[in-house]
């Protein structure tokens, strides 16, 4: 059993009165979606490679990865536009291999929104309801409800080309939610919006997901977006899932260098493991520098080559050697990037390696003491970094 401090915290909260939404930790919970050894091939190209995963009801699940990693293929298989070459996909315990897209309780929000240009906003939202042959007044009520959900009542009679990009995005969301699907698939839903609008919309999406209680699966290549909205993130690469975890665990306890590097900024320090003890490991990494210690899983063994991954904001910067700190790195300031709310310092060590430290600018800029070429010391606690296998 690998040890990590946050798992301890999690098991604490499980017995606490406030229950955390974490069905993936409950062995009794039945997953809504199961991928069982799914493989998808086109000729020689393998898009999905023997992939198994469980997704639970009411999750906001993010598939995150670079383009071509297979995340869109997974989503299209859930929608029914592709069928697996091997393996099974179960939705609610039922094998969906032979269920066409129009017979699945799954709806999709397309990356291009795919709004029907010849229909008004209200008609777009009503489209799926009409296919179900519901009574007219019921359809109207539902359309009205959806329009209020996305705050577009005033635009009900406009055509898609008569509204702005952000509004189109909301129409697409309302249309895909109108049939109250068990599962909503979102393909890069915010890709076409500018940054400010994207951030607002992320919170709106989370809000709507909570209100409707629908299971959301989102495909994105934007790690910040995945971190913001998701209850769990699956980091994918080359048709495989590298790690599935909550955003904080993905960020704080990446299980591989790939994940550490893909999510956020990270310092990767390569060295030899000198000793391991109680879930920690120390590495020696450069001449004249003291050893660095971080959290390690049991497979890390003394003598092996390993990499310590530590986030820049976990590092503190000092102008004199700090006392009683375990991990200390000596170097000089190579570069300072002032970002307003924080500053990034790039430190060069004697052996030529660069390490980034991020400091929140709690003080006014003119009182900043550290400048270029200055000799500084960086330090971090021994739970700040993670020692990872190569």
């Amino acid at each position: 059993m690998p040890f990590s401090p946050s798992e301890v915290i999690m098991s604490d909260t499980a017995t606490a009165p406030v229950s955390v939404f974490a069905p993936w930790q409950d062995p009794q919970a039945k997953p809504l979606i199961q991928f069982q050894n799914v493989t998808k091939r086109w000729g020689d190209f393998t898009a999905i490679d023997d992939l198994s995963i469980d997704i639970y009801a009411q999750e906001f699940f993010a598939l995150l990865g670079p383009s071509g990693c297979g995340k869109t293929t997974m989503m299209r298989m859930l929608a029914g536009f592709e069928t697996p070459t091997e393996g099974k996909i179960l939705i609610d315990g039922q094998d969906v291999a032979h269920i066409p897209p129009n017979k699945r309780a799954v709806n999709m929000m397309f990356q291009s929104y795919a709004l029907f240009p010849h229909l008004s906003v209200a008609e777009n939202i009503a489209f799926g309801l009409k296919r179900d042959k519901q009574p007219k007044d019921k359809i109207e009520a539902r359309v009205e409800e959806m329009l209020s959900l996305v705050q577009l009542n005033k635009f009900a009679n406009r055509k898609p080309h008569q509204i702005s990009g952000g509004q189109r995005q909301r129409v697409a969301l309302a249309r895909s939610l109108a049939k109250a699907p068990k599962l909503l698939l979102l393909d890069e839903p915010l890709g076409a919006l500018d940054k400010k609008l994207r951030q607002d919309t992320q919170f709106e999406l989370m809000d709507i997901q909570e209100k409707t209680g629908t299971t959301f699966v989102i495909v994105t290549h934007d790690q910040e977006e995945a971190m913001t909205v998701a209850s769990r993130i699956a980091v994918m690469d080359h048709g495989k899932i590298i790690q599935v975890d909550t955003p904080s665990k993905i960020y704080e306890e990446p299980k591989s260098i790939y994940v550490a590097d893909f999510i956020g900024d990270v310092n990767l320090i390569r060295g030899n493991v000198t000793k391991t003890s109680e879930g920690h490991a120390s590495i020696s990494w450069a001449e004249g520098q003291s050893e660095l210690t971080g959290i390690a899983r049991s497979e890390i063994e003394a003598g092996a080559v390993a990499t310590l991954a530590v986030r820049p904001e976990k590092l503190s910067i000092y102008t004199s050697r700090p006392k009683d700190q375990t991990n200390v790195i000596k170097g000089k300031v190579l570069d300072i990037a002032y970002l307003g709310n924080m500053s990034t310092y790039v430190i060069e060590t004697a052996s030529g390696e660069t390490i980034k430290a991020q400091v929140a600018n709690t003080r006014r800029i003119q009182r900043r003491q550290i400048t270029w070429e200055e000799k500084v010391w960086l330090s971090f606690t021994d739970t700040a970094g993670v020692v990872l296998n190569q």
Binding site: G80, P101, N102, M108, F110, A114, R131, R158, H161
Partner: protein
């Protein structure tokens, strides 16, 4: 406005003269009072009256219209289906051959098409009449429709159809409710093209028409061989008038819809 140089003025005048002088002569002489086509003897509309009393011409006009409407409608259905399959089916063995075969009638000499159809109708013992002309016109105008429609389908966002499927449509419903309304302008212009082609076709119609089913172009052609009559001038003037009204009407509608769309989009940004 920039003044045109004498060279540009001259070439413009020559070009327009070349295009329109024959038509102007034809229209002018349709209002000639005398029987002689080339000698002006006063203004009159009597040939128009004569024309509308001429049963043979009216019959031919009716046959032409029937043939044009039927053949262009069938051609539009078949051509759209062919275009849809060609664009959507992706790669399959023999795709190039198939699409080549659809477009071959575009470049086939009309005489050959007409002759081969005639031979076919004789071989299967089909009596020549309205039906055979309709079939013949459908055959050659179908490929024009399919070219027009497939050029629209190539730029059609396939996710629209997927969205329709996702929202509960069967494949056919998705086509009927989403794809067809969106590509409708292309389908309509394909129909109009087929209609016009059928309307003025002489060669293929003369191969495939029977004694009871003379189309207007055949009628005009055979009448002119016996000498140009002012009645034919009148008939041609009416046809020019109809075409002019149609073209101007179509371009005005499309211009207005473009202007409206631009206005809508500007409103959306505000």
């Amino acid at each position: 406005m920039r003044r045109l140089s004498w060279f540009n003025t001259a070439s413009l005048t020559l070009g327009f003269a070349f295009l329109y002088i024959p038509m102007i002569i034809l229209i002018t002489y349709s209002f000639n009072a005398g029987k002689l086509v080339t000698v002006w003897s006063g203004f009159s509309t009597k040939w128009y009256g004569e024309l509308f009393r001429n049963e043979a011409f009216l019959d031919a006009a009716w046959v032409t219209l029937k043939v044009a409407v039927m053949s262009s409608s069938i051609a539009t259905v078949l051509g759209t289906m062919a275009a849809y399959v060609m664009v959507r089916a992706g790669r399959f063995p023999g795709r190039t051959v198939f699409s080549g075969m659809i477009y071959a009638p575009l470049v086939m000499p009309e005489v050959i098409t007409g002759l081969s159809l005639l031979l076919l109708f004789i071989a299967i013992g089909l009596d020549r009449g309205v039906l055979t002309i309709v079939l013949a016109h459908t055959t050659f105008s179908m490929c024009f429709v399919s070219v027009v429609v497939s050029s629209r389908l190539v730029t059609f966002d396939q996710s629209l159809e997927e969205a329709a499927l996702d929202l509960g449509c069967t494949g056919f419903e998705a086509f009927r409710l989403v794809t067809l309304p969106i590509i409708m302008p292309a389908v309509v212009s394909g129909w109009l093209l087929a209609f016009t082609l059928s309307l003025d076709d002489l060669v293929i119609a003369s191969f495939t028409s029977g004694p009871s089913s003379t189309t207007l172009p055949i009628k005009i052609f055979s009448a002119v061989r016996l000498g140009v009559s002012p009645e034919i001038n009148a008939l041609s003037t009416i046809m020019i008038g109809l075409v002019t009204v149609g073209v101007i009407g179509a371009s005005l509608t499309s211009k207005r819809s473009i202007a409206k769309r631009q206005k809508d989009e500007q409103e959306a940004i505000l």
